[in-house]
């Protein structure tokens, strides 16, 4: 029985923290849980905290990219936060750039980004409504 990563919901944002011993099964369960909850709560953003990770390899890189793609399809933005300096340096040295994955320095900053996007979206919708009427 593999462990489930708890997903916390704050407003329209879902937060998951990746444990240091992430396995295939756990990653798959997280993917399922997140996609289900994004739909359920109509989430506009997903914050994934990787501050527990000492190493980010291709497996985790691919998982993050997949989570980002899935949430994008469901109209939610995924932001990866808490990458350690050592991890960033190693990824750079290896030439891995985590393309397509948005990152922020900490969850506060990620919330700001998501909130500003929400505001912009509402403005756009309001403009559209004005235009139609």
């Amino acid at each position: 029985m593999s462990e489930r990563i708890p997903v916390v919901k704050i407003g329209r944002v879902l937060i998951a923290s990746i444990p240091s011993d992430l396995g295939d099964d756990t990653a798959l369960l997280l993917q399922e849980d997140l996609s289900k909850q994004i739909v359920e709560h109509a989430a506009s953003g997903v914050i994934i905290d990787i501050s527990a990770l000492d190493i980010v390899d291709t497996f985790i890189g691919r998982m993050l990219a997949r989570l980002a793609s899935i949430s994008r399809v469901l109209d939610a933005l995924t932001i990866v936060v808490g990458m350690r300096p050592a991890v960033a340096i190693t990824l750079t040295e290896l030439g891995l750039t985590l393309g397509g994955v948005r990152t922020a320095i900490n969850s506060d900053r990620a919330f700001e980004i998501l909130q500003s996007l929400d505001v912009r979206e509402e403005d756009d919708l309001a403009d559209l409504a004005d235009h139609v009427s």
Binding site: M83, A88, T92, T97, T103
Partner: protein, 283 residues
Amino acid sequence: MSTTNATRQIFTLLQDQRERIFPRWIEAVGARSRGRRSSAETQVELRPIFDALVAGVSGGGVNVDNPAYDELRAILAEYSRARARQGFTPSETAFAIFALREAALDTIHDASGSLDYADTAAFSKLVDGLGLITFEAFALARETVIVNQNEQLLELSTPVIKLWDGILAVPLVGTLDSARTQVVMEGLLQALVDTGSSHAIIDITGVPAVDTQVAQHLLKTVVAARLMGAECVISGIRPQIAQTIVDLGIEFGDIPTKANLADALKLAFARAGLHVRKLGLNA
């Protein structure tokens, strides 16, 4: 057989003629110290060396590698280290040891005693061995000083400054090599995490030249910062450097570059959603 004989000879010589050899030695070393050392100071410094030498010869013969010489080796190393730190030249330091040979041989000559060839050669070899020890310790001490200074320089030249809430700056001064880039990168990334900043300005006003390697290092730093969710601006590009960059065909891609720090700060403000406005005179 001859070695034991030589050992006994040298030992007796050092022991019996101690009162004559030692003052001569002090005098010879004092003459070369150009007034930086009083003869009393020289005595204090050299007496343990002489004593340890006598002990060494009695226990280990003329072979400097013998464990009986361990104490002498330690004393000599400490003496050389102290001299290296005090700014004596290597030859001055080695001379202090070599002067012992002259002092001893002169003493024998004056006493009209004689040391046969084999003994003289053995004694010479012994003193040479001691000289080499001082030399090695001296070089090692100098190297340690250089390594320490290098480290201090690395720390000195890579401060990370907080310009505004969420905006950091790294003014780079001096040549960028891989080691320094690593220190800069680590310092900047750690500061980004510690302060929760999302904007960084790398100012290269103080970097004398930018070649492909330096550019590569800068790019790496920016990419690593991006991975962590922070945006970088490179500023302080001087006209000559701009020309070199173009001549070398270096591409900074979508990394913004600015001529001076003020412009970079303005861009960082805009990205952080801040607006700087001049107040009216009556406001």
